[in-house]
């Protein structure tokens, strides 16, 4: 699995560049690099369905982020927070990594899991649904309730974004009505 290690190390280097650069446009491009590395990792781990979805979603995220920040702000950010918060968060992260390293040794080996839940889906997938793509048969026939929940979450998020981005807010319309009336503050 040498290719997987190389792709993961490239993703970590890209993430460090995205977090530390002062120029905002460069950090958005580095976020795109992390997303493309994730697409290649999905292809290596034999999941072609996810690779297609991750690629197009990554392109859309980059377009939305660039549209929001270009021409709206100074390009160079100022320094970080004060030193106390930085030190405290580094100590917290080191403790978290130390404990997770000790826990991850007890997982089963990479590539030899002990999960047996999906055996039923693999054996009876073709005759009960008639679809040869096993992932589609799981999300649209065996577990269609989760897809209904996901469609609801997408609908609500788009509704929320449309409500936030209206041209004239409600307050301005109300204050236009009371323009002639005197208010005491």
């Amino acid at each position: 699995m040498l290719e997987l290690y190389i792709v993961l190390i490239l993703m970590i280097i890209g993430a460090i560049i995205a977090v530390e650069t002062k120029d905002i446009l460069s950090s958005i491009v580095a976020l795109g690099k992390v997303g493309l590395g994730l697409t290649i990792a999905f292809i290596i781990l034999k999941a072609p369905d996810l690779a297609i979805v991750q690629l197009v979603v990554e392109i859309l995220t980059l377009i939305i982020l660039i549209r929001a920040t270009l021409g709206r702000d100074v390009r160079y950010t100022k320094e970080n927070q004060n030193l106390g918060i930085k030190l405290l968060s580094i100590i917290l992260i080191i403790i978290f990594l130390f404990f997770s390293f000790n826990v991850l040794k007890h997982l089963p080996e990479f590539g030899d899991p002990i999960l047996k839940v999906a055996d039923y889906y693999i054996k009876n997938g073709l005759e009960k649904t008639g679809a040869t793509n096993l992932v589609t048969s799981v999300i649209l026939d065996f577990r269609a309730y989760d897809t209904l929940g996901e469609a609801t979450v997408l609908f609500t998020a788009i509704l929320g974004a449309l409500a936030v981005l209206r041209k004239k807010g409600l307050k301005r319309e109300i204050s236009k009505k009371y323009e002639g009336v005197k208010r005491d503050e």
């Binding site: 970590i12 993430a15 995205a18 997982l107 992932v135 999300i139």
Partner: protein
């Protein structure tokens, strides 16, 4: 050892959420945390010498990669996109009202 590199990616995103001043850097940190969690699910579901979970014509099944976490992660990728889009919409609104993306100045102005 591979699982540990995935958690290092998670902690880089966490560091960016906790200590950065600019609002766009916080949104980038949340996106990096999303990517690392999706990668961890697919790493657990891999079998050595497995095939992709698509059946072919006239071929017997020997060893297939687990299809159940892939169905879960497919939903999670699209939800990550929706959350990022909503955060960006709120950030644009904040800039229009206060004139800056700096979170220390947003706390002090009374608006």
């Amino acid at each position: 050892m591979i699982y540990f590199l995935c958690f290092v990616l998670f902690s880089i995103g966490l560091y960016s959420i906790l200590t950065k001043k600019n609002l766009i850097k916080i949104i980038i940190g949340i996106a990096i945390v999303d990517y690392s969690i999706n990668l961890f699910f697919i790493l657990v579901a891999y079998r050595i010498d497995g095939r992709a979970p698509i059946l072919k014509e006239g071929e017997k099944i020997k060893r297939i990669v687990d299809p159940l976490p892939q169905a879960v992660v497919l939903t999670s990728i699209v939800i990550g996109l929706a959350v990022t889009a909503l955060l960006v919409a709120i950030a644009i609104r904040i800039y229009e009202k206060y004139g800056t993306f700096d979170i220390n100045e947003i706390k002090e102005l009374k608006g």
